[in-house]
Every structure is written in C-alpha cells, then in structure tokens.
Amino acid sequence: MSEKHKHLLEPLNQRLVFKRLLTYAKPHWRWLIVAFILLIGGTGAEILGPILVKIFIDDYLTPGIFDTQALVWLASGYIGLHLSAAVMNYTQLLLFQKIALRIIQELRIDVFEKVEKLGLSFFDQFPAGGLVSRITNDTEQVKELYVSVMAIFVQNIVFLIGVFIAMFYLNIQLALFCLFILPFLIVIMQLYRKLSSKYYAEMSEKLSQLNARLNESIQGMAIIQVFRQERRMNKEFKEINQQHHEAWYKSMKLDGLLLRPAVDVISILALVMVLSYFGIMSLNSPVEIGVLYAFVNYLDRFFEPVNQMIQRLSIFQQALISAGRVFRLMDHDELAPDKEGSASPKLSKGEIEFKNVTFSYDGKQDVLKNISFTVKEGETLALVGHTGSGKSSIINLLMRFYSVERGEILIDGHSLKSFDNKEIRENTGLVLQDPFLFVGDLSHNIRLYDERISDADVVEAARFVNADSFIEEMPRKFQSPVVERGATFSSGQRQLLSFARTMAKKPKVLILDEATASVDTETETKIQEALERMQKGRTTIAIAHRLSTIKNADQILVLHHGEIIERGTHDELLLQDGLYHKMYQLQQGAKQLEEPLI
C-alpha cells in the first residue's frame, strides 16, 4: 500500500461519524414521524392497561360495586387497548427497521458509487479485499447500529417516558421518588460502557489474533509439519487461546456484575421504595390499593428495556468504528482523470500520435521514456518487448486510465485530454489480456450494459470473431450461464468472448493486449482469423505475442526498459539482427518445446 493510502486506515472522530450517520436519516423524516406517532400510540395504549386495572380495583372491586355496563366497558377497553397496542407496535417496529435498512442501502450505494469513480491508480495499489470488506462488512456493522441500537433505544426511551408519565398521573410524589432510580441506572450504564468497551476491544483483538493464527496455520500446515514444529505451534496456539479465554472470562464477569444481576438489585430496591411509601402513607391515611398495583406493575416492566439498552452499548461502539472506515473511503479523493477544457472533439478517423511521452507511476521511476510514434488511420502498430518493458503503460495512457504529465498524446490531432471520457470509451475497444467474464449469461457478457446492442448484434459479433461455433454447441446457446470468473470456459473461449464483447461496440480504434496463455491449435486458428478480421480497416495498437499479429503489423516498436530501441516492419527488423531478431528466434524455438510464448 502506498503512502497516499495510509490515511484510509486511520480512525475518524466518533462524534463526527455519529452526526454524519444521522444526516442519512433526514430524507426519511416523513416516515420517521409516522413511526414515531405509532410508537407513542402503541406505548401509550400499553401503558394505559394497568391504569384501567387500577380503576377497576379502586372504584369497583374494593368498594364492592359491580356495575355490569361499566365493567364491560372496562374489559373491552382493556382488550381493545392491548390489541391496538399490538398492531401499532408491530407497524412501528417494522417501519423503523425498514427505514434503517433503506438508510444502509443508501450508504452502501454512496460508497460503491464513489469507489467506481476512483481512478485505476487507486485500484492498482489498494488491496481489493479491503475494499470489498468496507463496502459490505463495514456497512453491515453500521446496519446493526441502526437496526438494533438506535431503533431499540428510541423505542425503549419512549416506553420509559410513557411509564413515568403514567406514574406521575397516578401519584406525583411517588413518581418523583422513582426518578431516583434513574441516576443509579445511568451510573451503571456509564460504568458498563466504559469498562465493556475496553474489555470487548481486548476480547475482539484476541479473537482476531486467534483467527489470524488459525488461518495462517491452516495455510502453512505443510511448513509446520515439514519443520516438525507441531508441538511448538500447538503450545503457542494454546497460549493465544488461553489469552482469548481470559479476556472472554473477564468480560463475562463484567456482564455478570453490571448487567441483569445489578439491574435486578435496583428493581428490588425500587420495589422496597414503593412498598415503604405506601406502607408509611397508610399509617396516617387510607391509600388506594389500585395505585399500588399499578406502580408495582410498571416497575416490573420498567427494567426489561433498561437491560436491553445496556446490552447494546458495545455494538454501538463497534458500529461507529466501522462507519468511520466507510466514511474515510467515501472521502478519498483519487478520481479517474476527467476531460480538460471545454471543447469536445469527436473521434472520427482514429489517428493516434504519441509525442515525447515520458511517464512514471510513482513519480520516482520512469516506466516510459520519451516515446514518440504515429499510427495512421486503419494501420496496425505492434508493441513488442519482455515483461516490464513499458507496453502496458502505453495502453494505460492511451485509455486515459492514467493521465500524461510529460509529453502529449493526440487523437485525430486533438489532445487526448480534451476528449470526453465517454467519447474515448465508446470508440476505442480494449481487449484485455485477462479476459474477465462476469457472472450472468453469455449474451450479457458480450453486450454488457449497452442496451443499444440487439440480440442480433450479439450473434453477429460472436460470428465475426468465430465464437459462434462453440456457443451454438452449448445447450442454452447465448443464454448459457457464466459462473464466477467464467471458470467453466477454456482460456481460448474466454478470449473469443472478450473479442466479441469488444467488436459488438464496433470501435474505431482497437487496442489489443494479447493473452499469453497457450490454447489448442484449432482455437488458435480461430483466434488468428478473428484478430485479422478485427484489425481490418481499424487503427490498431497491439501488445503482440502472436507472430501473425506482429508480421501483419504496419509498424513494430520494440521496447526495452521503457525505451523504443528498434522500429520498423517485420522484415526490416529481422535484417537488423537486434533484440527483435533474438525474440523471433526464441519464439520459433518455443513452438517446438510447446512452452508458453513470451
């Protein structure tokens, strides 16, 4: 990983992360209000239940009055309240979850969209695994924050407020006393949050060490066994396992000390307070037993939400860290090169000129040195040289994956930089060395996302590059499924498919990065035929490995360490008896050995 990506690994300020996460909720305010109203309604209905029972006990049961009509009202009121509470609560629970899921989806799309906009320089250096995990796993952690932390907190807090309102309605003085419970709970919460974040961090650190060791051991088992280090590795693993166990044990003890058992103590103490209050009051004046019933009942329900909230505090912190990672990536500024200037020239003929182009990826080492050449409309230029000679860099520049800083590239006389990216992409067809196939079917892999390409065009493109024969042999033809990376197709078939994909666009300029993988003779013939047909009437720049491609080229450039050391046609270069001549010999020899070509 290079220096300029190091900052992506540093954590962000948690408060800012939290604020930024909340802004994602803004567009949903309408539904959030609906959910809130339902939440308040549902909570209210649930909380009114004990009050009805209180009325029954104090006004009817204790004095012994049984008015049928009033009792029917009370009973149906009680049942009605519970039913409507159930419906409202179900709806609000679902609504909150839906909103949370939508928010996460937006966050995911935002980060994915951003990543797609980044330049290839980023992808060439940042490990793909890390990217995938940020886009999916980290956002999944954030989902926990919305779904199981924020939603639960909001619901439980509203419930607690409701309980207090009911208590105040029943008896202001006692309700005030009950408020004293809150500081105790807050202290426990704070204490738990502080300690658990430390303990959990330790535990998850140990767990990741444990998993890393396990993973590494499984992959390096052959080495461990050959070097007879099984006993030592077992011992070391046991030590890590023991450390993890101890961290786990500690956090389990913490849970035991501060979670349910502690909250239960407070709940019994609250009961003592309520009973003492009524007891003392009753010594002087009569009290309503129904009120006592209601208070005891509320206290019973009060502590479950508290337990739930405390337990979720640790998820909250993990989620914030993940969100920080996502935002880091979202803020990263390494965009793909874009058009410069206001003119928008059209690519019409396809004449390409490199003028003294020098290029370096890292600003230190030049991989291309003072490269100049011209390819006229319809001509073919072959680039030849061993690995690292700079052939691929020429293509990277021409496709504008990277921007030229020294020297200039002209297409049809206009600077490459003045073109819309779209104009370049639509009119140049790049055939990659590694013919990447997407999961889907064959016609999708030829058409990709271009809806203008009809089914007939797809078939036509496949026929044009000789891919139709093997496709027609498959039972589902163009609808044949393609698995991950096209693993079920031979490398020759994959190459033909990537030809078809390029030709379906009918590009004006063709850029070929020929695959080195050897294929069977029959497929090779097909590939060569296809290549010849593809080049006809098209400006072509090819990183060539095939002798046929090289021989037919109008111009050959031989590159070595970023410089053009020989140029000319095949026959001219053979006469020079230089590097090209040696490479030619090598290739002829390789054929006899059936070794992969250079």
């Binding site: 239940g49 029972v53 049961l61 009973a75 049942i79 519970h82 179900y90 629970l93 679902l94 979850q97 899921l101 989806q105 995911r108 799309i109 969209e113 797609e116 290839l120 793909a128 990217l131 999916t136 779904v147 998993n211 993973n215 590494e216 051991s217 088992m221 461990i224 066994q225 050959v226 070097f227 007879r228 280090q229 396992n241 044990y249 389990m252 035991g256 058992p261 239960d264 103490l269 009961l271 003592v272 007891g279 010594l283 009290v287 019933y293 009942n297 019973d300 061993h386 639509e426 790049l430 990659l432 990447f436 999961v439 990709l448 996302y449 590097l579 490479m583 010999q585 070794e595 250079i598």
Partner: protein
C-alpha cells in the same frame, strides 16, 4: 424434541465439569425460589394495608428482608453465571485446542479436500454455537423448568389453583409462537444471509473486473446493478424484520390476556372471599415472573437446533483419520545415508493418471540431484514423497524404507524450501529460525547470508525484527524465496530440498546462492527441482520428468549430447536470458 439430543452428546463435558454444572443448576434453583419472595411480600403488605393491620415494625422487617434478599440474589446470580457460562467458554477453549491439534496431525490430502474458509468457520462459528448450547442452552432449559415450575406451584398452592389454571391458559400459545417465529426467523435469516453474500460476490466481481468496466465506461451501469442487488438485500431483510417485529407485540398481547383473565376471574374469587385482594396483587406479580421462562422455552429450541448441527460438524472433523502416521515400532533416530527411489507407481486419490510411474534412482550422500520437467510432470510429487506428505512405496533412506522411521525423525533429517514461499506473520528472524527457535542471532544471520538475503534485510529500518505479512512490510517474491531458503538452511539438514525455489531471483543471485550451497552442502544431499535449468545444471545427476516418468537422466554434459528435451530447453533459456538483457550478450 430430538434436537435436545445435543445435551446427551455433550454429556462427556458436563460430566467432566459436573461440580460446576451441578453447582450452577442448584444455584439457579435457589434463585428461582428466592425470586418468589418479593411478590409474596407485595401481597402481604397490600393485605396489611387493606386490613389496616400495618405498623412500622412489620413494614421495616419486611423491607429489610427484601434488601437482604436483593444482595443474596445478586451474589447468587453472579455465581451461576461464572459456573455455567464459565464452563461453556471453557468448552470453547477445549474444542478449539482439540481442533488445532487435530489440524496439525492432518496430512496434505486433508487440506486439499477442505477449504480454509470452511475450516475457519468450523473453528469459529460452530464452536460459538456449541458454547451457546452449553451455556445459554443449559441456562434456559434449567431456568424455564425450575423458575416456571416453582412459580406455578407457588401460585397454585399459596393462592388458588383454579385461578392459576385460568391465568396460564394463554401461556402455551407464547411458547408455541416464539418457537414458531424462531424457526421462521431462522429460515428467512438464511435467505437474507444468502442475499448479502451475493451482494458481497457482486462487489468482489466489480472490484476484480474494474478494468473492463473502466475500459467500456460502464461505471454508472455497475452502480445500477449494485443497486439492484442491494434492493434484494433490503427486501430479504425486511422479510426478516416482518417476523422479528412479531415477537414483542405477540408477547405483550398474550401476557396482557393472561393478566386480563387473572384480574377478571381473580375479582370474582375476591368477591366470593376465596382469596384476598393482596393475594390477587401477588398473583399478578407472579404472573410477570412467568414471562421469562415461557420465552426461554421458545428460544431454547433455536439455540439447541444450531448447537446440534454445529456439534455434528465439529465432531465429524475431529473424527477424520490421520492419513500419514507413524508405524508401530518405527525408529526414532533421524535417517542418514543413501536414498533410493524404487517407486513402481503412485497416483493421488481420485486422480486418473499416475503421478509417479516407475521412478527409480539412487542418491549417494553428498550428491546434488537436479530434477527438471514441465509443469505437472511430477517434480514436486517426487520430493514430497520423500518427506512423506503421502505414502508412495517404496523409497529407501539409509537402506530402510521411509515408513520405518517416525515422521518426526524422518523430517528432522530434511530441510524443505517450498514452491509457494509461505512465510508467517512474524519477524524475519522468527521466520528464519522457525525450525530452530533457540537459534542465536549469529546463526540466523549466517543462514541469511548463505541465502543471499542478509543485505536486503539490513536495509529495512527494523532489520531482522521487521515483521512480514499483512501487518508488516510486503516482500517481493524473490525476497520471500530467499528467506525460506535461509529457514531451511539454518537446520543444516541431512537432505535439503529446493522445490523450484530460485524461480523469482535473478540470474546473478541464483549463481551466488548456488555457490554458497556448494560450499555448505559438501557431504550432504541436495535435491533441486527447477524450471530454469541454470539452477540444476551443476547436479551430479539430473532427471527429466515427463508425465510421472523419468524421460532423460544423466549429467548436464551427457544430457546435452542426447539432443532431447533438456538440450532444447537449455538453449531456449540461454536465448531467453539474452533477450531479457536487451539482446546484447554481455
């Protein structure tokens, strides 16, 4: 109910930790009984108030009792957690150690069959599920039975069994609903997981195929495709939420009904004088205590269902047989002397063609053997057979077959440098001294010098303490290769095997390493397999493998006279190195 079988499967462990489990269960039962006291006190106080019989003395006594109770319950609750949950996480530790030890005994064929990801999943998720069963599973089983039982008995005995029966009518519904929702949730959750992993695959594909996307200018369309996948994820998760959101309302509805029944009928009992108004109040508090056991019973099945599947997987893994093991009576002395291959044939399991076919040759101590051939011709199989990664019969070492030595003894005679230069995420010094953790720094540096990597190492800012791997510096392939050569050389082994281990170093470094090998390997046997013939042309015997057979053999000069594959390849590679230098012979 058959899922509960997992408790029988785990019985060996419960027995092993019986005092903790029995103690924990006993404490749980005591806690259940003690939890019945507060509601009883509520009833007593209410009755006293109702009958105007309350005085300060009575009130104070009862309240002190409750406070004392709170402390006792707190301690007991903490204790059973330590006993039961503590034992469960000990089980996790135990199983993890067992699995790891088992892994170290498994031969390469095992690792070809299993994917690393699956083995990791068994060692993490499955063990987690088993731990849950041995902890939360036991708790919910015991708690729902004791707590539920005591509460019901108390309600029936101290208040009214008729009222108890009436109030309990809706409760089975709750156990049924939670278990039903639980299994629905499990299924839908599986689908949501699948949608998520398909989203993950999509992102993976987008990142790997970014070149195609950029070349065709389809970034926007990729985002659209991603959106569609994420829609699916949202949809599947909403279907999870639809079930998940059912839990709370259902529970409070059922509990509400139960309360309603007990108040409605309880009022009748009060009017008839069967129970007091205080008893009715206690009754409703008892009822509140029943919610948890009922819920727990529903959950129990979900915990146990997962635990059982996980336990089956883990114990299946632990039952895997060892492919390569010590013969009874095998010698524990490291072999020395002549090595002779007399392999009639060997093929890997489930493979059609022979990997080794009629391979016979002798190697005297001190000789260097070069092995050449195309990819897949059997070069690596040949050297791995010597290390007994699998058993190919018969190879003799010091006149006895390999099987007559213990694996430990045999491998202590061998130093191996693999093709895929695997290093551990540790310091360079630790990696080099892997086989001899007690090696001195000087020995480590000597080995590094022999492997021509010393200069590279001291150029790192941390020198030999530089950490390699994901968390540390990224080494080039050539550097990794040379470190793994040093790792083998520090053993100064009887037999050294270099399996295509010079492929990533340049010609000059290769020459330097070969030169130091010539020096330190005098009198000891060295096997070198190579694609590049310059690494083996000095060998005392060179073998060319083709489809598992020896197709050419002899010294370099002899092979050059044979005009076969070796000669052609050699000339080809000469030319190739010329091209690499830019066509000018130097």
């Amino acid at each position: 109910m058959y899922q509960l079988k997992v408790f029988l499967d785990l019985m060996w462990y419960f027995k092993k930790e019986k005092w903790y489990y029995l103690g924990g269960i006993a404490i749980l039962a005591v806690v259940s009984v003690l939890s019945l006291i507060p509601p009883y006190v509520v009833g007593v106080i209410v009755d006293h108030i109702h009958n105007n019989t309350l005085n300060e003395q009575v009130l104070r006594n009862w309240m002190l009792l409750l406070c004392g109770l709170a402390v006792i319950i707190y301690i007991l609750r903490y204790l059973w957690r330590i006993f039961i949950f503590g034992s469960a996480i000990k089980l996790a530790r135990l199983l993890r150690n067992q699995l790891y030890e088992h892994f170290t005994r498994m031969a390469s064929s095992f690792y070809h069959r299993k994917r690393t990801g699956d083995l990791m999943a068994h060692s993490t998720n499955d063990i987690r599920a088993i731990e849950q069963t041995a902890g939360a599973g036991v708790l919910t089983l015991v708690d729902s039975l004791t707590m539920g039982g005591f509460v019901i008995v108390t309600m029936a005995v101290t208040i009214s069994w008729e009222l108890t029966l009436i109030a309990l009518l809706p409760m089975p519904l709750m156990a049924f609903a939670t278990s039903k929702y639980g299994s629905m949730l499990h299924k839908r959750f599986g689908k949501a997981q699948a949608a998520f992993s398909s989203l993950n695959d999509k992102v993976q594909e987008s990142m790997s195929g970014i070149r195609v996307t950029k070349a065709f200018g389809y970034e926007k369309e990729e985002v659209e495709a991603f959106k569609k996948k994420s829609d699916d994820v949202v949809e599947k998760n909403i279907s999870v939420a639809k079930v998940d959101a059912l839990f709370d309302p259902t529970i409070s509805l059922i509990v509400g009904m139960s309360f309603f029944l007990s108040i409605a009928f309880g009022a009748r009992f009060v009017v008839n004088g069967d129970i007091s108004i205080g008893q009715l109040t206690s009754f409703t508090v008892y009822l509140g205590l029943l919610i948890w056991p009922m819920l727990a019973f529903g959950w129990l099945f979900n915990i146990v269902e997962r635990g059982r599947a996980s336990y089956d997987r883990v114990s299946g893994l632990l039952k895997e047989k060892q492919d390569v093991k010590d013969d009874p009576g095998a010698l524990n002395t490291p072999p020395t002397g002549e090595i002779s291959f007399d392999v009639v044939q060997f093929s890997y399991k489930n493979a059609d063609q022979k990997s080794l076919d009629n391979v016979r040759f002798n190697v005297l101590p001190g000789q260097t053997i070069g092995i050449a051939g195309k990819t897949g011709s059997g070069k690596t199989t040949l050297v791995k057979a010597l290390m007994r990664e699998f058993d190919a019969k018969t190879i003799f070492f010091g006149v006895k077959p390999l099987q007559s030595y213990t694996l430990d003894a045999l491998r202590s005679s061998i130093g191996y440098v693999p093709q895929d230069h695997f290093l551990f995420s540790a310091t360079i010094a630790d990696n080099i001294s892997f086989a001899r953790p007690d090696a001195s720094y000087k020995e480590i540096m000597d080995a590094a010098k022999l492997a021509n990597i010393h200069e590279d190492i001291i150029s790192f800012s941390e020198g030999y303490e530089t950490v390699v791997g994901e968390r540390g510096v990224t080494l080039s392939g050539g550097q990794k290769q040379r470190i793994s050569i040093a790792r083998a050389l520090i053993k100064d082994p009887e037999v050294l095997i270099l399996d295509d281990s010079l492929s990533a170093v340049d010609a000059k470094t290769e020459e330097a390493i070969l030169e130091s090998l010539r020096r330190v390997r005098r009198g000891k046997t060295t096997f070198i397999t190579a694609h590049r013939l310059s690494a083996i042309h000095h060998g005392d015997l060179i073998i060319v493998m083709d489809k598992g057979r020896i197709s050419e053999r002899g010294t370099h000069d002899e092979l050059m006279n044979q005009n076969g594959w070796y000669k052609k390849m050699y000339e080809h590679q000469q030319l190739e190195s010329l091209v690499k230098k830019g066509g000018r012979s130097s």
